[in-house]
Amino acid sequence: MIVSVKNLVKRYDDLLAIDHLNLTVHDGEVFGLLGPNGSGKTTAINCILALLEYDKGEIEIFGRPMKPEAYDIKRHIGVVMQNVAVYNELTVEENINYFCGLYVADKKLRQELVREAIEFVGLQEFTKYYPKKLSGGLLRRLNIACGIAHKPKLIILDEPTVAVDPQSRNKILEGILELNQQGATIIYTTHYMEEVEQICSRIMIIDKGRSIAVGTKDELKAMITLGEKITVESQRITAAQLSALRRLPNIVSAEYKNRLLVIKSSKGSNNLETVLEFIKQEKIQFGKIYSELPTLNDVFLEITGKQLRD
């Protein structure tokens, strides 16, 4: 077990930011912490890192209690904070060297590590640049390089892709998977469900500081009653047809809006077939039909009654 959090409670004055949170991260996982803005992801991470004092709970990393002065634990952790944290007066290379040097004293070894980190995030052409001259995406990559250059066993990334263009984002996500393949355990927080689905082996969904579901993405999707969502583009659907649709077996809801018929079904097979059969019977004209499996957003929606992102 790499990280274990038991019954963590953190208050900011009256606000209960973390509410009895339990969490375990196993060796070699890419663990995703998914939650909307303000759900307590950063707070949880800061508590785990002993950056923030908390009201209650036990936190262990690598099987030992985590404290502000637990330097032997900290030595093996790498963190990429939500806010970019680099020195504006140091160049790309100097920044990475500086932060790496907080962990690695040996100069030779450090030189090598810095070079690898620069290559890893693809900043070779920018080593002599000052942070002010970097674009947003490049700056994020520098921020990542500063956090991981010392090759930590546990890497914690707090929304590293916020405000990053899709190209940089993909590069970052691939990089994280690569770090994981090289043996690092990853904790990744985000409010983008697509990212979590793409890279995480296990996911915890949190809301208002509480864990509302944990599991692999398939396990999470299996928790809810919703099956697939079928969308039909059609010029005309009558009210009678709509209510007939709703009476079909396994159909949970059917709505027609903006020439789109959206049908949600509960779990089970043949739902698409049933709908196609109905359309044929009623001789409904249609442009396109497609069927989607539930997303983590649907999981979030079903458990909390609200959208993951608004």
Binding site: L51, E53, V79, M81, A85, Y87, L90, F99, G101, Y103
Partner: protein, 378 residues
């Protein structure tokens, strides 16, 4: 002590142009300006006023404060400037024909246009910089605390007086020294810029950089002290440069006890850094507000210590003796002066002891406040 942190911090701080300007170049410019004004007075010849053109547009017309400041500097027997109000084209022409040293164009901010660099240009620039600095400080304070503007307003007003005052005052060599001693004292307290930055950079709730150091396997207090040592080394070196400049370029004689002058400067630098650190920890406002308070209080302290008008110093020590003893800049100025003036050290040691006590209080205060924040940062 971590050499890695110390070394990188040095690099970082030396590239912080703004801080280096305020803590080193600004005092040197001010010294040049003092010297010029005072030595002219000394020599008994009338001061050759610097010719300055001002573009008379509507922005200038509306900038009452700037007009007052310029008028003060361009009035009287010993005036600093000779002003020409004119159009921009005309000003440009005057400058090319070298009929004026520079011209001032007020747009959103006053901009100085020069055709070469030299002592006259530096004086105009230093005048403008200190004017801008003070008005910015006053504005920030007014915005944040409109109920109690009296304090700074006063010092801003005096600021303009001082330009007239300095040029006109009697030039007893002892009195001239007071100006320079208070200038050194002010420079010591401008070290507050460095102290402020140090404290900001260790508070994980304010700065993401601090968080990054907090999560690393570095002992917090040790990291902070390494970094602080870098600040101290830089600031002390700047002050040594200032002393050398005063001594060898401006030929100011500090008397026989020059070793003590350096020692006092070393303590003054520490006091200034500690003061900035304390302000930074104490004031839970924006960075700009902290800077404004630092500059405002330092300027005001220097003013009371006689940097702008010497009589103020005597007034304070006669009417409000306690104020003379709690104003660290005055303590420092007097410490320098007593080195020069008295043969015994008793007055000097008294001042240094009080100042040392204040420095310790600033440090402890900073430590306690930073510790009490929610983030476990020290």
């Amino acid at each position: 002590m971590s050499l890695h942190i110390f070394g990188n911090r040095l690099k970082c701080l030396l590239r912080d142009k703004e801080n280096v300007f305020w803590t080193m170049l600004f005092p040197i410019l001010l010294a040049v300006f003092f010297n010029l004004a005072l030595s002219n007075v000394n020599a008994g010849e009338s001061f050759q006023a610097i010719k300055l053109a001002v573009v008379n547009n509507s922005s200038f017309h509306n900038d009452q404060a700037l007009q007052t400041a310029l008028d003060a500097a361009a009035a009287g027997e010993q005036k600093l400037f000779e002003l020409t109000l004119t159009s921009q084209e005309q000003a440009e022409q005057l400058l090319t024909e070298q009929k004026v040293s520079a011209y001032l164009l007020v747009d959103e901010e006053p901009v100085l246009v020069v055709s070469k660099t030299g002592i006259r240009e530096s004086i105009i620039k230093s005048f403008l910089d200190s004017y801008l600095q003070t008005t910015a400080a006053v504005n920030t304070i007014l915005q944040n605390n409109p109920n109690n503007p009296a304090l700074l307003f006063q010092s801003a007003g005096e600021r303009q007086n001082y330009l007239a005052e300095v040029t006109g005052s009697a030039a007893d060599p002892n009195n001239i020294l007071i100006f320079f001693y208070s200038l050194i004292a002010m420079s010591c307290f401008y070290g507050g810029f460095w102290g402020m930055r140090e404290v900001t950079d260790i508070q994980a709730d304010i700065s993401a950089l601090a968080a990054r150091i907090n999560i690393s396997p570095q002992h917090k207090l040790k990291a902070f002290l390494s970094s602080l040592t870098a600040s101290y080394l830089i600031h002390f070196s700047e002050l040594i440069l200032l002393l050398l400049f005063l001594r060898y370029v401006l030929q100011i004689d500090f008397g026989a006890k020059s070793g003590y002058v350096v020692l006092t400067t070393a303590l003054g630098s520490l006091a200034g850094i500690a003061y900035g650190a304390f302000i930074s920890a104490l004031v839970k406002k924006s960075e700009n507000m902290k800077v404004a308070i630092l500059i405002g209080t330092t300027m005001f302290g220097s003013f009371l210590a006689g940097m702008m008008i010497q009589d103020i110093k005597y007034l304070v020590s006669q009417k409000f003796p306690l104020l003379a003893y709690v104003n660290p800049i005055n303590l420092l100025t007097d410490a320098f002066y007593s080195l020069y003036y008295y043969d015994t050290f008793s007055r000097y040691f008294l001042n240094i002891t009080i100042l040392g006590g204040m420095t310790i209080a600033f440090c402890l205060g900073t430590y306690v406040i930073v510790r009490r924040r929610k983030y476990a940062s020290l």
